[in-house]
Amino acid sequence: MAGPPPMVAPSPQPGSSSPALHFEVLAQCGRARAARMTLPHHTCETPMFMPVGTQGSVKGLTSQQLLDLQCQVILGNTYHLENRPGAELVADMGGLHSFINWPRGMLTDSGGFQMVSLLHLADINEEGVTFQSPTDGKRMLLTPEHSIQVQNRLGADIIMALDDVVPSTAADNARFEEATHRTTRWIDRCIAAHSRPHEQNLFAIVQGGLDERLRDISLKGLVARNTPGYAIGGLAGGEDKRSFVRVVSQCTAGLPEGKPRYVMGIGYPLDIVICSALGADMYDSVYPTRTARFGVALVPQGVLKLKNAAYVQDYRPLDEECGCMVCRRYTRAFLHPLAAKGLPFAASLISYHNIAYTMRLSGQIRRAIIEQRYPSFVREYVAQQYPRGGVPDWVIEGCQLAGIELDLRAAGQGAANGAAKAADGTAPAAEHVPHAEEDTCSRATAPAASSGGIGKEAGACESGSLAAWRQEQQGHG
């Protein structure tokens, strides 16, 4: 990976140049950093959130709307796109950018995660991931070479190495050990198979479960391969959040300072705030759009469950500070019946706002870092989400790891599970459910959701009718 010599500016900040990626840290504030990342299709400002367009469309939004929302990079899922319409067709159509008419950055995953999480019959050995084709039932093999070949055809700015994914909640230590070493062996095969290094950036994915020793082995092995950027994988799968922040903290500390760091599958706003405090730069999740399809809007205080009768005559915008197209035009009272009826129009509008919220949050994070006031931003953000105390332990620990002191004088500290804060319906804040509770809720409903054959991406509370609607929307997939 001997790129051209970096354009050396007299700057004390870390950075790096690869053939298709230039990364430049603009400001650091504690462990958090704001950076500029130049990709073949877009120059991005980080930390950034990347919406997910699983099948070549961010659900409910057009690519023009994503541009209006200042999105910088969107994801495509290799597994889905290879199934339909097929990478070869996408290549014939001029690549994914041209096929979906998206001029800015794109990132595709390796397809391995979907295979392991969506298919019951996936079987992993040294050669690759063997799985049963969902279309014709034939046994097929996804190798590192094949994953990279498919991603080369799709043509995203950033492509991901095929890694040996083990759910972080799996108990078998030997399996984690094997997966860690295999992921390192596979990165060499990925690098060797990568045919477009001057147009696409291959990111390695740090594995190792929740084990500090294995994460360390993975970090050392992958850093030695000197890829243009790195992802932290194997998280966001339902592990306890204290382990989650410890692993992120260890990984960001062990990765090169001058290269981008991407925490996969992260989309809860508070997770983005904490991971950024720990020095991560990139995030992706279906959460903002998926939760929108259940009628849930993201706001600084937490979430609004718009199907709730509390909003029948609430003439405020979703978020008074937002100013997005939806917040300028529509009220909670307008959106309530649409969400309650489960209309696609509601899903589109709330998705639009939720992406706007997440993009605005990323911008606020960047500004706070550049203006050297990120610790106070984090303190205010946490206080807004937990106005009556009950800040979860993982948030406290994440901040400690980031060197940020939280203001915990509020009463009720220590219970830390937030369960005491049952909605009493009196104060306006009671309408808002902090993300931590949303989180708990999603875990509680996860088995029901996955039994419907839907993926295991971050979920949210849902009632029967909308779950059915979602299945209809996502069905056959």
Binding site: K59, M93, R329, F334, H476
Partner: protein
């Protein structure tokens, strides 16, 4: 998306969606008007109608109507609504035009049922108008009366005469069509009803859709249409592709030799539309050659816009191949983009109709469509 459709003049709203969820009080309580609550721009004429063509359930409406209330299809199923309840919702919407509640019956209902519908609709019109007279929100709004009567000419005539005799009615809706009557029955009904309506009053025809049907209705003196047809076309994954002026196109083609790329099979068959190809015709197979079916595998790798030459948002930004993929993947953006194109295309169609009327060439314009239909029928060997 609506703002990309710069030729929109009026929006039609289904009053029945505002009876329960949201309740009229919710719209009323909003500081500003119901129209601002719905974020409907002031430049549109807002027409409040009693039936959403998108969710209308055939014959559902007549199930449980009595002299006191209509039975209507709402999101949750059927529901009863009295003229007073209906007018509450109308007042909350504060539209420019509102259609009086009527007893909506399908064409093939029994004659006594059709007669009852006429009586009820006339009574409800008076009731709606007396409520409206007391509602300050509706002081500037125009009322349209609905002409019912099923397929029975006598009932249609009686209804038209009764409604036309009611003072204060600004326009008329030819309701209950598109429910099983034959084209010739519909032609007769429209003719008989229009004859009995005041010449200066606007006439709105519901649930009629294809370009040829609309042209015929325009020729018969219809001024306004709802867009129910577009909802069905869009839901089916179709993009409208009929030429906006087939007569002019035909003349052009006669002057220019056919391009070689049109293929051998097309020598005895006229092209389906501007820039369309054999593949379009094949994918359109069995259809009326006024639209293309984006579900068809023929579009899998088609890099052209939905309709070459169309300047709508969807055509300016996306290919047929992408739309085909979005449909296959059950992505809701497919419906959004198709709706934008189809609405845009129909708005252009109506612009062309108005222009031809203004220029005094409507008959020739209409004839261009009829001849195209003739050529298609012959070309397809039907």
């Amino acid at each position: 998306m609506l703002e990309t459709l710069t030729d929109v003049q009026a929006l039609s709203l289904d009053v029945l969606q505002f009876l329960t969820q949201p309740k009229p009080e919710v719209l009323r309580g909003f500081p500003g008007s119901g129209r601002r609550f719905l974020a409907m721009d002031g430049r549109f004429v807002l027409v409040a109608t009693a039936r959403d063509p998108g969710i209308y359930e055939y014959a559902g409406a007549m199930r449980q109507a009595t002299n006191n209330h209509a039975s209507v299809t709402v999101h949750t199923g059927s529901s009863n609504v009295t003229p007073a309840q209906y007018m509450q919702a109308v007042a909350a919407l504060a539209p420019d035009v509102w259609v009086a509640l009527s007893d909506d019956v399908p064409s093939d209902c029994r004659p006594d049922r059709a007669a009852k519908a006429v009586d009820r609709s006339a009574a409800w019109l008076s009731e709606c108008m007396s409520v409206a007279a007391a509602a300050p929100e509706l002081s500037g709004a125009a009322v349209f009366a609905a002409v019912q009567g099923g397929q029975y000419l006598r009932e249609r005539q009686r209804c038209a005469e009764t409604m036309a005799a009611q003072p204060g009615v600004a326009g008329f809706v030819l309701a209950g069509l598109g429910t099983g009557e034959s084209p010739s029955q519909r032609r007769q009904i429209v003719e008989q009803v229009v004859q009995r309506l005041p010449a200066a009053a606007p006439r709105l025809l519901c649930s009629v859709g294809t370009p040829e049907e609309m042209l015929e209705a325009v020729a018969q003196g219809i001024d306004m249409f709802d867009m129910g047809y577009l909802a069905g076309v869009t839901a089916g994954g179709y993009a409208l592709s009929f030429p906006l002026d087939p007569g002019a196109q035909q003349q052009q083609q006669q002057q220019q030799p056919m391009p070689a790329s049109s293929g051998s099979a097309s020598t005895d068959k006229a092209p389906a539309a501007d820039g369309s190809s054999d593949a379009d015709a094949a994918a359109d197979g069995g259809q009326d050659c006024s639209k293309i079916n984006l579900w068809a595998v023929a579009y899998r790798t088609d890099k052209r816009p939905l309709l070459p030459g169309c300047n709508c948002f969807a055509c300016a930004n996306h290919t047929r191949a992408y739309l085909h993929h979005l449909l296959q993947a059950h992505e809701m953006t497919a419906q959004v983009l198709l709706e934008v194109h189809n609405t845009h295309h129909y708005l252009q169609f109506f612009k062309a109709i108005r222009a031809s009327i203004a220029a005094g060439t409507f008959a020739a314009y209409h004839e261009g469509f009829l001849q195209r239909r003739q050529r298609l029928l012959m070309g397809a060997g039907w």
